[in-house]
Symmetry: C2
Subunit: 435 residues, 2 copies
């Protein structure tokens, strides 16, 4: 027992002073060595030859990693349950029974051939925070809930199940594991027939905090310790079909062609030009393309491709989409083709809570860390939980901005910093009146 | 027996007058009704629900169509053999044993889900010409050889076997029929172990004439009866690989991307711009593309695509390729990507013989038909036979320039015109000193 723990015990002997607890822990720190060692252990489940992690939701590797996480949660003196949707919850009662829980956590499933940091950092970080509180006998006013959301990479399935409920259509989606979501939920110990019991109501939570790697390169490049997330950008996807006319590539003069791939090329270039023509951090991506019939000697008659736009401001996305549409009209006229856009995804921007951002920033500054306000370009479970309660997100640097790759890497010291910011943000929020 | 045939018989009774024969047949005409009826019958082999023809080389449909063609050849009093390479030859002796054969013909295999005109018109046209000569008891000075080349659509395989020989590598190619070329040759009655016997030497032929549909839209659009082919364009193909860097489409700012698909778009647009920037009938096509990994949420890290350039002048193709390379250097610098071009086809331009062109034009004019000199943008067996002897090609209009499609169509009257031009060109050439 060190001096700090001794002091804490003294404080806990005086229940009337619980309100002072958050103020009284400025020296409390997570065990960074333990946290990083656990990340290495976790990375054994689904380890790839390339040194990354292939741990698709609903596979054996996922199941084993979940068992490992539950073991750690019990070590952190959390009461562990699996909800009907298959999310793992580790709970610890608070000192004020009137208050709603503060939730912290992330996910441990990975993309195919992914990395070993992504949601793992926030998951192990949340368990470490719970464990350090338990070891130091710090009881929060609010109940604490550490959550490991299931199948984040397949479309924030676990957090959606809590925040909005899953539809029958969702349940029938065949995931990368080859199991449907329904089968997957059963596989990991949930009960797809009782999903209603997993859904929470607005106001059921006092707040949610998620620690995560940035996945982009801003913090690493600018040598900043902590990203304070402004919000999770809206993600808008369209399937794009371009109809031209397939013809012989040798016998059809250039001026008689209706080349769908030439139209696609002009479109892809236009998307880039339009998205970068206005200030801001919006992104636009064409990620997939196929030309049909797709042969050396045939002028492509049809192209299927995509459009993805993301920004914190949905109105800006709409403005960019309209500019792209005007340009597409010009391309159609110039190439004798016809474009069709079918929207297949429209997840709205999820701003983080302004108070949470301020508290994260204060906590980081008090730890002597540099901070930067930035959007999250990737989707996260936090965007779903934002339907229920205020949310905050803490980013740590990703080397070279690489993610969803075996080359994904965050420095152990940065991960420890992030967990300490999570810890102190939690303590500060716990002392506030959240509603 | 009509009056014309009577006169011919009179002429043949006077062997010393054989040199006059070609001049003496100005009224001779093919039987257009029979020719077009046979095209319809031929189209039954491999007929598709869309009304086109799916008759891949080395399939049952191909074998049955070949048997049908051989039956017609025998009706035309040709002596039918299959060479070691699987080509069908129908021969008729000439009156002058010192002369080398004049060859006419084409192919009857089709592309997948193709049309019913393509090589079929020239094949049935050549048999019709032989039959009308036989029926009218016109014996040429030169031996006549009607040839049906095997597997033209798979890369002028039969004509290459005659003109240059097939390599072991050629023989091991797996064709659309799922058979290798070796297996295919055996299947259609050739002998892949005796291919050397099929190879002809330069000078073994007096000349080759091929009737074909244009496959482009020039004759149809300009309402011209007969195309006099200047030559078969050189066909140059490259596999193009573009390396960028795959990254998260949400978290990677626009200015930090190395987007291989954006680079590909600029490249495709540049190919079109460069190819159309100089006068002439050259064409440039990008027909195939794949972006990897190919997902909505990943900036493409790699693209595989193609380049095809065709022209009658190989030096012009080289000049265009160099312009494209310069532009590619600029695109690489602007997008942080790296292009690689691997040439996978370089069939050199095959000009037709100047005398043959003149004779085709004269024959058409004497038949009261309009003509236009034009290149063949598609490859043909004639380009291979050009290695052995002078060649000529006669085009008839393709409706809307559509080919390799069930919508491929040529008017029966145009087909009859083409066969009459073939007949009279043959007769004129037969009267000339070819060497």
């Amino acid at each position: 027992m060190n001096r700090r723990e001794f002091n804490l015990n003294l404080l806990f002997a005086v229940p009337a002073l619980t309100l002072l607890v958050p103020q009284a822990q400025p020296q409390l720190r997570v065990n960074g060595q333990r946290l990083n060692a656990r990340l290495s252990e976790l990375a054994q489940y689904g380890k790839t030859p390339e040194g990354g992690t292939h741990r698709l939701a609903y596979t054996d590797a996922d199941l084993e990693a979940r068992q490992y996480a539950m073991k750690l949660m019990r070590e952190a003196q959390l009461e562990v349950t699996i909800d009907a949707a298959g999310n793992i919850a580790g709970q610890r009662v608070g000192s004020n029974t009137q208050l709603k829980p503060l939730m912290i956590g992330s996910h441990i499933d990975s993309v195919p051939a992914g990395g070993s940091y992504d949601g793992q950092v926030g998951s192990m970080g949340a368990i470490e925070v719970a464990q350090i509180l338990a070891e130091n006998k710090v009881r929060l006013r609010h109940p604490l809930e550490v959550v490991i959301f299931q199948n984040e990479e397949g479309g924030t399935i676990g957090s959606t199940a809590i925040a909005r409920g899953l539809t029958e259509k969702d349940l029938s989606i065949v995931t990368n594991s080859k199991k449907t979501i329904r089968e997957g939920i059963k596989f990991i110990g949930g009960d797809p027939d009782k999903l209603a019991s997993a859904v929470r109501k607005k106001g059921d939570l006092a707040g949610y905090l998620e620690l995560h790697i940035e996945q982009g390169g801003t913090l690493h490049q600018e040598k900043i310790n902590i990203g304070v997330v402004e919000g999770i950008v809206g993600v808008f996807w369209w399937e794009v079909t371009i109809e031209g006319f397939a013809n012989h590539a040798g016998t059809t003069p250039m001026n008689q062609r209706r080349d769908a791939l030439l139209a696609a090329a002009k479109y892809i270039d236009a998307v880039n030009r339009i998205v970068t023509s206005v200030p801001g951090r919006q992104v636009g991506t064409v990620g997939r393309i196929q030309a049909l019939p797709g042969a050396f000697n045939i002028v492509p008659g049809k192209v299927t491709t995509t459009l993805g736009l993301r920004d914190l401001d949905a109105a800006k996305v709409q403005m960019l989409f309209e500019k792209i549409q005007s340009e597409v009209r010009r391309i159609e006229a110039a190439t004798g083709t016809k474009f069709d856009f079918k929207q297949v995804n429209a997840s709205q921007p999820a701003p983080t809570d302004e108070r949470f951002r301020r508290v994260i920033n204060d906590a980081a500054k008090q730890l002597g860390l540099t901070t930067k306000l930035l959007p999250s370009g990737a989707g996260h479970d936090a965007q779903e939980i934002a339907h229920l309660s205020p949310v905050g997100m803490i980013f740590v640097p990703s080397r070279d901005g690489i993610s969803h790759s075996p080359r994904e890497f965050s420095e152990p010291a940065d991960i420890t910093n992030g967990a300490n910011v999570l810890l102190h943000t939690l303590l500060k929020l716990d002392g506030m009146s959240l509603n």
